[in-house]
């Protein structure tokens, strides 16, 4: 006789002496075998469903981005004909980078491609929005770039999703599912950027330009490079050449070119170059935290960064960096108060660095890097 203590647990849970118990037993066994042989396939289906949900969201974001771009161009640009077909064509724009097989002169070639791209975008906007002024045109270019980014992200995610579905490769699906949260975060940032660009509000990326604008406010300005203005500002007994992109339209200009020109104009007689830019914060760091360092704090494709590194190395000028920490979502959305307040902290840090690292009568370059949308000078 089997004792009560030695009775299997399953029998206690699902007694075998009735029909329901048997059915339940069979269901559990069926479940066991299904999961044993089709577990991975089920997991893959669940992952595909999850990706499909995000893809649907991306599609809606893309469509809304397109809608916003069309309505903004119609409102600001007052075009005579419907801009939608032209915008649709624009959203399919492709950039082809320079060949890197022979890296000699790649920066020059990359710069040329970037210049052509910018020119093409502005020409397109000019045709789409004939009534827009220079500031509005720069902002509209930014709107279209954000809509373009949303479209491109949507299309590449859709490509990998369809490829994963077609090949039923768990590795493609898994990789896609793993990067999806970061992709969605980036897309949300672009979606919010569209709103800020449409209204011409200052964005988080513009904190460097804001610092420079605070320093040069009320001073005489002159254009030193493409879309870059410069002011001579006395700070702590030193002469500071403060540069920033020309606002208030959405613009980054060519700060590297401006630094090169100033250094060459002054025959390298500059004691220090300070660059202020927004930097992506690490998780756990506070938004608006100000950090100091050395090196060229210029983001983007690297052309402007290269120019500053090259000229600073030529004249042996030290380069300092001041970074304002921001989340990826804050960089392209309307400037947060914490970031605005950080600009004042950065100004004080600049003064501190100048006092410590240079002597009275020296000359320094202060470059505020970033998109100057919504920031005058």
């Amino acid at each position: 006789m089997v004792s009560e203590a030695s009775r299997p647990i399953a029998q206690g849970l699902l007694p075998e002496d009735n029909v329901i118990g048997w059915i339940l037993q069979l269901i559990w066994i069926a479940f066991f075998f299904i999961f044993m042989f089709y577990g991975q396939r089920i997991q893959m289906r669940i992952m595909l469903k999850e990706i499909e949900g995000s893809l649907l969201r991306l599609k809606l974001m893309r469509d809304k981005g397109r809608e916003i771009a069309i309505s903004t161009i119609k409102e600001i640009g007052k075009p005579k004909e419907d801009p939608a077909p032209r915008i649709d064509r624009f959203l399919e724009h492709v950039d082809i980078g320079p060949v890197s097989l022979d890296p000699v002169g790649i920066i020059r070639r990359l710069e040329h491609i970037i210049d052509v791209r910018e020119l093409r975008f502005k020409d397109e906007v000019r045709i789409m929005a004939p009534e827009a002024d220079e500031t509005q045109m720069n902002n509209l270019t930014n709107v279209l770039e954000a809509a373009l980014a949303l479209n491109q992200i949507y299309k590449s995610i859709r490509h990998y999703y369809l490829m994963g579905k077609k090949t039923l490769s768990i590795y493609i699906i898994m990789q896609l599912q793993m990067i999806l949260p970061l992709v969605m975060k980036e897309c949300e940032a672009f979606a919010n950027a569209l709103r800020a660009f449409t209204l011409g509000q200052p964005i988080g990326d513009g904190v460097g330009a804001l610092v420079a604008a605070k320093l040069m406010h009320g001073r005489k300005k002159r254009r030193i490079a493409k879309d870059i203005v410069m002011s001579e500002v006395p700070i702590e007994g030193r002469t500071a050449y403060v540069i920033k992109a020309e606002g208030p339209g959405g613009n980054v200009g060519k700060p590297g070119e401006a630094v090169r020109r100033i250094l060459e104009e002054k025959n390298g007689k500059i004691s220090l170059v300070i660059l202020i830019d927004a930097a992506q914060k690490l998780e756990g760091e506070r938004v608006g935290e100000v950090a100091e360092g050395i090196g060229v704090a210029i983001g983007g494709p690297g052309v402007e960064k290269y120019k500053v590194e090259e000229i600073a190395a030529k004249y042996k000028v030290p380069v300092s960096a001041i970074l304002v920490k921001e989340d990826i979502g804050d960089v392209v959305s309307t400037m947060r108060k914490e970031i605005f307040d950080a600009a004042e902290v950065a100004v004080e840090r600049i003064k501190g660095i100048i006092r410590e690292k240079t002597r009275e009568g020296d000359a320094v370059i202060i470059a505020g890097i970033g998109n100057t949308m919504g920031i005058g000078q």
Partner: protein
């Protein structure tokens, strides 16, 4: 009018496979409770099966509640953006809602106090961080 305020928010689609699985789990757990009650009526109390089946009911009910169709959040949120106007001579300062065409250091007329120049000194949005009280919250 720019289509910023009109948010197209279709309801979220519920995965059919997940829904079927959750319903099967709910049915099985209800059947298990029934079994346990029957066993109790016959004089044997099987505490383990009661606990397990009730937990399964709670879990599947929770999943059903979670699956309710929620609107899709697209971003494109409308923030409250403030514009601060300041006088360059006296300490006059006023804050209003952002208006199209505003930009930092834009001159916006003369001061009502001293007739100095008024300019926009700041444009920003304030974010209220949601602090969630969690049992597992760490001090890192």
């Amino acid at each position: 009018m720019i289509i910023l305020s009109v948010e197209v928010v279709p309801p979220k689609r519920i995965p059919i496979l997940l829904m079927i699985l959750v319903f099967i789990m709910l049915v099985l757990s209800v059947a298990a409770v029934y079994q346990a009650i029957e066993a109790y009526r016959n004089g044997s109390l099987d505490l383990a099966s009661i606990i397990l089946s009730i937990s399964a009911i709670v879990l599947s009910s929770y999943m059903i509640i979670q699956m309710r169709s929620k609107p899709i959040k697209l971003g494109f949120e409308m923030y409250d953006v403030s514009t601060t106007i300041q006088c360059d001579r006296c300490n006059y300062e006023t804050t209003r809602k952002f208006e199209r065409g505003d930009y930092i250091f834009k001159e916006v007329g003369s001061c009502p106090k001293c007739k100095g120049n008024l300019f926009i000194s700041s444009i920003y949005r304030e974010v209220k961080e949601k602090k969630r009280k969690s049992f597992f919250a760490s001090s890192i």
